[in-house]
Symmetry: C2
Subunit: 242 residues, 2 copies
């Protein structure tokens, strides 16, 4: 039996301020937890409704009821297990390769999907404004499907970072140059903007190369692509030549 | 004041069998509703928490409380308006152009995103297996952001359809040919598979051209791309040359 206080602690981790206070985050489901166990993340504890993860010592595991798991879970429908991991120290950002920069991406599903895409396309570093959704939000962790273990996410003052970098700076804009006709480098910063407002003006000022994904057929039928699908297309364009 | 029965009727439309019975579907939020009003869809009624859509005759509109709207809404957090539209007759499928085919895509967000992508890339027809999530599921309508008014979705026996078509048939597979090296036509069928299982064996047998989006860097790091992001990349590849 879990105490009320234990359940309260775990579910408090749905909120950023408690994740920061305790230095812990939640991951749910066998697949995501297995990926995190196999990587740099340190397990604090595992809660499960049935015996799982035979290779883990008993001291890390607690059997709980479905009701208890549901009360701790950040998902609408809880999985069969939930783990607490320690939030690792941020690694040092290296100015090399292709780096994705996010200017206030707010939706957890979008950040998770973008991390998964970066993993696929060999982008190991993301820089974000501090207003971007927290990497350790349970819905972000869920949407990464484990890719979070292979992509470093850095929260920075994006304007200051862009001022200092020597890498070429690309950004997506509705009125940018046709991306299919651009020569894209294998090193650089690629900026994607907020879901509603795109890239902010102060960040736009730092962008040397404005690119756009052209619509096919009649113009101006739809407003824009979702930021995660735009990232998919742009990363594919950056990588297809290499 | 709305009667309990009215609220019950509207919220019954969250379920496919009642949408079919009444021939109605739900759309929520000013943006989506405006797009549907501007297109082929016929409005049945609009419920709103404040005066909206000045151009609509009063007989189509009912002011409701936030509590009432929340009880009718299919969203976790209701918008400020909700409309019922009539489900139109299915149009006739034309075997021309690029057609996207979905083999049991189950997630409403994925179908909605795919419809939005088809709209962007000038694909006006989608064919689906009958097991694919219903187009008029409120979460699909929401995720299309209005693109549903410009893309026709047909539920068919996909195997029979593929047997009879004269268009070249493409499908995405983990072990397919590198899509970046393929010559892609501007007419054809492009098949995407189920979230967990990909394209089924009986459909795979009909695919003449197996294509894959190559991973960048070390191989086999992640299992696969999400079906919506894969669609984004593949449609971009089909259209970039034209």
């Amino acid at each position: 039996m879990l105490s009320k206080n234990q359940i309260k602690l775990v579910s408090s981790l749905h909120q950023k301020k408690y994740r920061k206070e305790y230095g812990l985050f939640l991951a749910e489901g066998v697949k995501v937890i297995r990926e995190l166990l196999a990587s740099k993340f340190e397990l604090e504890h595992l809660y499960m409704v049935e015996e799982l993860f035979d290779d883990l010592p008993a001291k890390f595991k607690t059997l709980v009821s479905t009701v208890e798991l549901n009360r701790m879970s950040a998902l609408t429908t809880a999985n069969n297990c939930l783990a607490l991991f320690r939030i690792p120290k941020e690694r040092v950002l290296k100015e090399e390769g292709l780096i994705v920069a996010l200017d206030d991406v707010r939706d957890p599903g979008n950040l998770g999907t973008i991390i998964r895409l970066c993993d696929w396309f060999g982008v190991s570093q993301i820089v974000c404004t501090k207003e971007t959704v927290d990497l350790y939000n349970p819905k972000v962790i869920q949407a990464t499907m484990g890719s979070v273990s292979r992509v470093d996410v850095h929260y920075v003052d994006l304007e200051v970072f862009l001022n200092s970098t020597k890498l070429p700076i690309y950004g997506t804009f509705m009125n940018g140059n046709n991306i299919y006709k651009e020569e894209l480098p294998n090193q650089g910063i690629l900026i994607l903007g907020n879901e509603a407002n795109g890239i902010s003006e102060k960040i736009e000022n730092k962008v040397a190369h404005k690119i756009a994904i052209p619509q096919f057929g009649d113009l101006q039928k739809t407003e824009s692509l979702n930021v995660a699908t735009a990232t998919a297309i742009v990363l594919s364009e950056f990588r297809r030549g290499f």
